[in-house]
C-alpha cells in the first residue's frame, strides 16, 4: 500500500528540486481544497503557506537576475535627458567610446561594433547598447544577441512575457492585483516579500510593486534595508534614476550588501557616470575584498570605455578569485586572439570546453583559434560541430563567414566564395560577408559586381571602415 505524502510537504520538495510547474499544480490543488483566494486568513495557516509557496514558485519560473538587466529601449536612448553633460570630457562617458589610448588592437585587427567599440568576448543583455547617434541607426541596431528587433521600451519585453504566462492559465491570473488590499499585506512582512517578488518578476507590474514596497518600508519605519532596495529597483525600472540612487544609498548606510552596490552602480551607468560607478565598485571592494561581481563590474566598465588593458587586468583578478568565470575567460581569450596570440586564446577556449560549455559560439572560436595557431587537424571538425550546433540562421551565417576566412587562408577561393555566399543566404544583412565577397569578385575582375557589393556593405554597416576603403580603392583604379 502506498501512503500518500502530505501534499504541502511534497510541494515544498518539488520547489526545492526546482520542479516549479509540479509545485504550482500541487499548491493549486491544496488551495482549491481550502480556498483562500485573495485574502490571507490567519485562521488557515496551511492555505497561507500554500499561497506563499505558489507565488514563490511562479516567481522562480520567470526569475531573471535584475542586476543583469540593463536593456534600453529606443525611447530611453533617444530621449535620454539624464546625462549630466551633453558634451562630456573624454574618459568620463560611456557614450563616446573615445580613442584607444591604451595600445589595444586597432579596428584593422579587432572588428568594432556599431557603437565604435571593439567586439567583446561575452554577450550580456547590456552589451552593444552603445547609444546610436540617429534614430535610423537606433532602429537598425539589434538590441540583444542577434535575434531581437530593437524594443520600443525597456519594459515592453517583460510585459509580453507576463501576458504569455497569463494565457497559459485558463482561470486567469493567480492573484488579481487590482483587488489587492496592499496596506493589509504590507503589515505582514513575510507575506509581503513573497508578494512583492511575485508582482515585480511575474506580473511585471512595477507601479503596484512600488506601492507595496513603499507601504512596507513605511510599516518597517524605514529600518529595513531590503525594502529600500526594492523601492530603488522599482524606481530604476520606471526610469527615475535620482530617486533610485537615494534609496540605494540609504540602504547602503543601513547595511552594506554586494547587491546594493551593484544596483547603485547600475544607476550610475544609466546616468552615464562611469567614473562614479568605478569609485563605487572600488569602495565596495574595500568592504568585500575580492568580490567577483564587483571586480567583474569594474572590468565591464573599462571594456565599455575602450580601455582594454585595464579591463583585461581586472578580468584576470576575477579569475584569481573564481577560475571558472565564463565571462572573464571568454573576454581574456578574445583579447589574446585579437592581439595576435591565437595559441593562448586557444587554451582559454579549451578551458571553457572542459568546463562544459557546449555551443555553436565556442566551437566557432575554437576553430578559428586552431586555424591561426596552425593546428589544422582540429579546425574543420570544430567548424562542423559549430554548424551542427547553430540555433538560428544568424549563427549559421557567422560560422560560414568564418569558414570563408579559413578558405581564403588556404587559398581555395572557390570554397571561400561559396562560404561567403552561404553566409549571405543565411543572413541577408551580413555586411562583412558582402565586403569579403566583393574582394573576391575584384580578384576575378568583376568590377561592377564588386562595386554593388561594396555599396551594399557600406550602407548596411556604416561603422566599418573596410567597405569604404575598398570602394575608394576600386574607384581609384577604375574611375
Amino acid at each position: 500500500m502506498v501512503r500518500e505524502m502530505e501534499p504541502l510537504l511534497l510541494a515544498w520538495s518539488y520547489f526545492r528540486r526546482r520542479k516549479f510547474q509540479l509545485c504550482v499544480d500541487l499548491c493549486t490543488q491544496v488551495l482549491e481544497k481550502s480556498p483562500y483566494d485573495q485574502e490571507p486568513d490567519p485562521e488557515l495557516p496551511l492555505s497561507q503557506a500554500a499561497w506563499i509557496l505558489k507565488a514563490r514558485a511562479l516567481t522562480e519560473m520567470v526569475y531573471v537576475d535584475e542586476i543583469d538587466i540593463y536593456q534600453e529601449g529606443i525611447a530611453e536612448m533617444m530621449l535620454d535627458e539624464n546625462a549630466i553633460a551633453q558634451v562630456p570630457r573624454p574618459g568620463t562617458s560611456l557614450k563616446l567610446p573615445g580613442t584607444n589610448q591604451t595600445g589595444g588592437p586597432s579596428p584593422a585587427v579587432r572588428p568594432i561594433t556599431q557603437a565604435g567599440r571593439p567586439v567583446t568576448g561575452f554577450l550580456r543583455p547590456s552589451t552593444q547598447s552603445g547609444r546610436p547617434g540617429t534614430m535610423e541607426q537606433a532602429i537598425r541596431t539589434p538590441r540583444t544577441a542577434y535575434t531581437a528587433r530593437p524594443i520600443t521600451s525597456s519594459s515592453g519585453r517583460f510585459v509580453r512575457l507576463g501576458t504569455a504566462s497569463m494565457l497559459t492559465n485558463p482561470d486567469g491570473p493567480f492573484i488579481n492585483l487590482s483587488r489587492l488590499n496592499l496596506t493589509k499585506y504590507a503589515q505582514k512582512p513575510k507575506l509581503a516579500k513573497a508578494l512583492f517578488e511575485y508582482i515585480f518578476h511575474h506580473e511585471n507590474d512595477v507601479k503596484t510593486a512600488l506601492d507595496l514596497a513603499a507601504l512596507s518600508t513605511e510599516h518597517s519605519q524605514y529600518k529595513d534595508w531590503w525594502w529600500k532596495v526594492q523601492v530603488g529597483k522599482c524606481y530604476y525600472r520606471l526610469g527615475m534614476y535620482r530617486e533610485a540612487e537615494k534609496q540605494f544609498k540609504s540602504a547602503l548606510k543601513q547595511q552594506e550588501m554586494v547587491d546594493t552596490f551593484l544596483y547603485l552602480a547600475k544607476v550610475y551607468i544609466s546616468l552615464d557616470q562611469p567614473v562614479t560607478a568605478l569609485t563605487l565598485y572600488k569602495q565596495g571592494l574595500d568592504t568585500f575584498p575580492g568580490e567577483v561581481t564587483l571586480l567583474c563590474g569594474i572590468a565591464r566598465i573599462y571594456e565599455e570605455m575602450n580601455n582594454i588593458a585595464s579591463a583585461a587586468e581586472y578580468y584576470k583578478d576575477v579569475l584569481k578569485q573564481d577560475n571558472t568565470h565564463v565571462e572573464a575567460i571568454a573576454c581574456i581569450g578574445s583579447n589574446h586572439f585579437y592581439s595576435d596570440q591565437p595559441e593562448i586564446a586557444l587554451r582559454f577556449y579549451r578551458r571553457l570546453l572542459q568546463m562544459g560549455v557546449y555551443n555553436c559560439q565556442l566551437f566557432n572560436n575554437l576553430g578559428l583559434c586552431c586555424f591561426y595557431a596552425q593546428q589544422y587537424d582540429m579546425t574543420l571538425t570544430s567548424f562542423e560541430r559549430a554548424l551542427s550546433l547553430a540555433k538560428n540562421e544568424e549563427e549559421t551565417a557567422d560560422v560560414w563567414y568564418n569558414l570563408g576566412h579559413i578558405a581564403v587562408g588556404i587559398g581555395d577561393t572557390n570554397l571561400a566564395h561559396q562560404c561567403f555566399r552561404l553566409a549571405l543566404v543565411n543572413n541577408n544583412h551580413h555586411a562583412e560577408a558582402y565586403n569579403n565577397l566583393a574582394v573576391l569578385e575584384m580578384r576575378k575582375g568583376h568590377v561592377e559586381q564588386a562595386r554593388a557589393l561594396l555599396q551594399t556593405a557600406s550602407s548596411l554597416a556604416p561603422h566599418m571602415y573596410e567597405p569604404h576603403f575598398n570602394f575608394a580603392a576600386v574607384s581609384d583604379k577604375h574611375s
Binding site: L123, A145, T147, A164, L167, A330, A473
Partner: protein, 70 residues
C-alpha cells in the same frame, strides 16, 4: 652543395636607387570571434521563445476551431 654555391651567387647592390611600388590592395573584414552568451541572456531568449510559442499555439488552436454556424 658546393656546385650549387658556385651556380648561384647572391647579389647585393650597394649603389643605385631602390624603388618600391605601393600597391593598394583591398582589405578583407577580419574573422569574427563569436561572443558567448551570458546565462541571463540565454534565459531571457528562452523565455521569450517559449512565450511566443504559447501565443502561437493559442492562435493556431483558435483558428482550428470550427466557425460558429447558426
Amino acid at each position: 652543395m658546393a656546385e650549387l654555391k658556385s651556380m648561384f651567387r647572391e647579389v647585393l647592390p650597394k649603389q643605385g636607387q631602390l624603388s618600391v611600388e605601393d600597391i593598394n590592395t583591398m582589405v578583407l573584414c577580419k574573422p569574427k570571434l563569436l561572443p558567448l552568451k551570458s546565462l541571463t541572456l540565454e534565459k531571457l531568449d528562452k523565455m521569450q521563445q517559449a512565450a511566443q510559442d504559447t501565443i502561437h499555439q493559442q492562435e493556431m488552436a483558435e483558428k482550428e476551431k470550427p466557425p460558429i454556424t447558426h
